[in-house]
């Protein structure tokens, strides 16, 4: 109740929540492509690399202008991306090293410029704070408009080039063979990633930005195999984390906004990884456990089947010792074998007779003969 009233009455809260939701959505949608191209950490690199771009803009313009700062950040981000690719392509140095180097050097350069601007040999001051940690709480209405416009453009581009993005992300060589320049499309995607990072920096800051880019897409991926659904879901997850994070941050004392948003999206990712129906860990573990049990049971059943088939009477019963014991990690175990046979009996595949010996039933024989592993089996292998 209180929360809703808060929402309706608090103008600032509405603005910030809206801004965060939009930024979450845009970075989630664009970030889906980064996730699929395994360029998730580009977000981290570009975020750090943006700093000198902003600083240079300030030096040139001598005034604070959000749009121009974003432009400077964009140029720096693209330059950084280009440098990383150049290093990868022309040397034997691997991508992760190239990223880490570019990231830290650009950021260091940014620090140098900042202290040059401030003329204090110490970079502790409010402007840098906002850059590192985000400043969601100071979003203004006009900022929202800027975000909305840029966000709309990005989304429009994605819809327009949907086929190309999809193909190049999945199989760039094939795209080239169809005459679609994978290089140009990749460049476009990278540029869009950089743009969404730059506008997203305002909410959560440099360090947390990679989560906003990557987590929504990763979470969405767990629920669907279709790219279109994944991208839409990622946008939704991103938006939700923006809103919920903002609301939590304003209702609890001393809760910073950026981290709150990241916590929410992280919970969404973790939840998706564990609970999603097809890929999720929980159901997978259950399925695997059942499967494992079945394998062991099937193995024993098939062994008994072999004994049965090698005998004149397929329904003749055999001692438990004759049925080849399972060697699980723990080693031979007659008791375990007996438990398995009991389970098989419950299923109606075997029958225990008066002398405590075991025999196949008709259903058991049918089951084995229909078993997928049965088809090519040899029961007279060179042993």
């Amino acid at each position: 109740m209180n929360l809703i009233e808060l929402f309706i009455n608090d103008y600032t809260l509405r603005i910030v929540a809206l801004g965060s939701a939009l930024l979450g959505m845009v970075s989630g949608v664009v970030g889906s492509f980064a996730v699929l191209k395994k360029q998730g950490l580009l977000g981290d690199a570009v975020s750090h690399a943006a700093l000198p771009g902003i600083a240079i803009m300030f030096i040139l313009l001598q005034t604070k202008s959000t749009e121009m700062f974003m432009l400077g950040a964009l140029i720096a981000g693209l330059l950084a991306t280009g440098l990383i690719v150049a290093i990868e392509k022309n040397t034997h140095i691997k991508t992760d090293s190239a990223m880490a180097l570019v990231l830290s050097v650009f950021f260091g350069f940014g620090l140098v410029l900042l202290t040059y601007i401030q003329k204090i040999p110490n970079a502790n001051q409010a402007g840098l704070d906002k850059f590192i940690f985000g400043q969601a709480s100071t979003l203004l209405r006009k900022d929202i408009y800027t975000i909305m416009i840029i966000g709309a453009v990005l989304l429009f581009v994605i819809v327009l080039f949907w086929k190309e993005f999809k193909l190049v992300t999945f199989d760039s060589d094939y795209a080239d063979s169809l005459g679609i320049s994978s290089k140009k499309v990749s460049l476009l995607i990278s540029s869009m990633i950089v743009i969404s990072i730059i506008i997203g920096l305002q909410t959560v800051g440099v360090i947390l930005m990679s989560a906003m880019l990557v987590a929504p897409g990763v979470a969405a991926r767990q629920w669907t195999d279709k790219l279109s659904v994944m991208v839409v879901l990622a946008g939704i997850f991103g938006a939700i984390s923006g809103v919920v994070g903002t609301v939590i941050s304003s209702s609890i004392q001393k809760m910073p906004t950026g981290p709150s948003i990241v916590i929410i999206i992280s919970l969404i990712v973790i939840g998706s990884i564990i609970f999603s129906p097809n890929r999720g860990l929980l159901l997978r573990a259950i399925r695997e456990r059942n499967y494992r049990k079945n394998i062991n049971e099937d193995n024993v059943l098939i062994n008994l089947y072999e004994l049965a088939m090698n005998h004149k009477d397929p329904f003749h019963s055999h001692q438990i010792g004759a049925i080849k014991p399972i060697k699980t990690a723990g080693g031979k175990n007659t008791k375990y074998l007996e438990n398995v046979l009991l389970k098989l009996q419950e299923k109606g595949f075997v029958k225990r007779d008066y002398f405590d010996e075991w025999a196949m039933t008709q259903e058991g024989i049918v089951y084995v003969e229909k078993h997928p592993m049965r088809k090519e089996m040899q029961y007279d292998s060179t042993n």
Binding site: Q39, S104, G108, V112, D129
Partner: protein, 382 residues
């Protein structure tokens, strides 16, 4: 010892202490994982602080090291599910841990001076203010000694476990089969990295530790193929970067740590372009030379193929040959000039002819190419 000299010394010690494990991080492709750790140790620091309420407690280092290992463990856990790629896993795990740290600081430690800026950015300029006192005698800045110890430990570990590190980074499967647990070695390496990061953050801030851990090693990697030399060169380059960075910062009155990081970038770019065997200039020049060499050989083959045939005076004619080979006239003239200079062809009655040496060379070249081609095709056939 003046404060200035102390800063310089601390810078050099930090740089070298970082490059030593850095070489293995680069070879192990764990650069971005290390970047993640530099952020997550904040959680270890704040966690321990909330327990002991003492910013100078040595337990802080332990806590930070543990969180460093936790980071590696969580990333591998997430990656092992096969639902998330490793880079995405890193991009999710470290912001989460960092967010928790920030929230803890805001809510529970707001009153105490944990300056997050200084954790992340550090400022080596203030390092001399923290003194090391033994029995009341001031023997210098604390950072010199703490980082010095870390440097010695890192060096010792790399020397003692050199072959184990080398083996597990190069071929972890064989390492496992031979009885060296690659997991143990990896976590050992990351523990030493975490401790180094904690030690260094005070001086240069955790974000810039990455510059030292990655920059000098990849610069050295461009210059040598010998692992031991690579480590030595990294240390040297790291020290030089620290020294030059220091002087630049002094000259322009800017962030010292930032300047040092910038220097790692500049020295890398210089080597990237000018390195003797792998530098950009050399690579481009080599490609150009290969192109010319191949063109020369092609022309010789062409001349030889049409030698003593009816079409010889058309195919090998001085005026026409460029049409048959389909190259620009300028390029052809250059190739021809080279070949004449090398005494491989001569002009006779307006057509080009091979000299005896030219013929020998052409046949040899042909055989070499065929041999190398058949090996390549064997490789590709499988």
């Amino acid at each position: 010892m003046t404060a200035q000299i102390e800063i310089l010394i601390i810078g050099v010690i930090v740089a070298v202490a970082c490059t030593i494990p850095g070489v293995f991080l680069v070879l192990r492709k764990m650069a971005m994982m290390t970047d993640a750790i530099t952020h997550t140790i904040l959680l270890g620091i704040i966690g321990v602080f909330l327990l002991v309420h003492d910013l100078n407690s040595p337990l802080l280092i332990v806590g930070a090291a543990l969180v460093g290992l936790l980071t590696v463990y969580l990333v591998e856990l997430v990656t092992k599910t096969k639902l998330v790629s490793e880079d995405s896993a890193i991009g999710i795990v470290f912001p989460l841990l960092f967010s928790i740290a920030i929230i803890l600081i805001s809510r529970y430690a707001g009153k105490v001076h944990i300056d997050t800026d200084s954790v992340l950015l550090g400022e080596i300029a203030f390092a001399p203010f923290n003194r090391m006192k033994i029995f009341g005698v001031d023997i210098g800045a604390k950072a010199m000694y703490s980082m010095g110890v870390i440097l010695i430990i890192n060096l010792a570990l790399v020397i003692i476990f050199f072959k184990e590190l080398k083996l597990s980074v190069f071929d972890s499967k064989l390492a496992a089969v031979l009885g060296f647990s690659p997991i143990l070695i990896e976590y050992g390496l990351m523990a030493s990295v975490s401790v180094t990061v904690v030690g260094a953050f005070e001086a240069v801030g955790s974000i810039l530790v990455i510059a030292f851990m990655i920059g000098p090693p990849i610069t050295a990697y461009m210059l040598t193929d010998n692992l031991k030399l690579m480590i030595g060169l990294s240390a040297g380059i790291g020290a030089i970067n620290a020294i030059l960075g220091f002087f630049i910062a002094n000259a322009y009155d800017v962030s010292i740590a930032g300047s040092m990081a910038l220097m790692t970038g500049i020295s890398f770019i210089i080597v990237f372009i000018f390195a003797p065997r792998r530098g950009l200039f050399t690579v481009i020049r080599r490609r150009k030379n290969q192109k010319i060499d191949f063109a020369k050989k092609s022309m010789l083959f062409h001349i030889m193929n049409h030698e003593n045939t009816d079409r010889e005076n058309i195919e090998n004619a001085v005026d026409n040959i460029y049409k048959h080979l389909n190259w620009s006239e300028e390029f052809i003239n250059r190739i021809i000039k080279n070949l004449i200079q090398e005494k491989r062809i001569v002009v006779l009655d307006n057509i080009y002819k091979l000299t005896d040496e030219g013929r020998e060379y052409t046949i040899r070249s042909y055989e070499e190419i065929v041999e190398s081609f058949s090996e390549e095709s064997q490789k590709m056939a499988r």
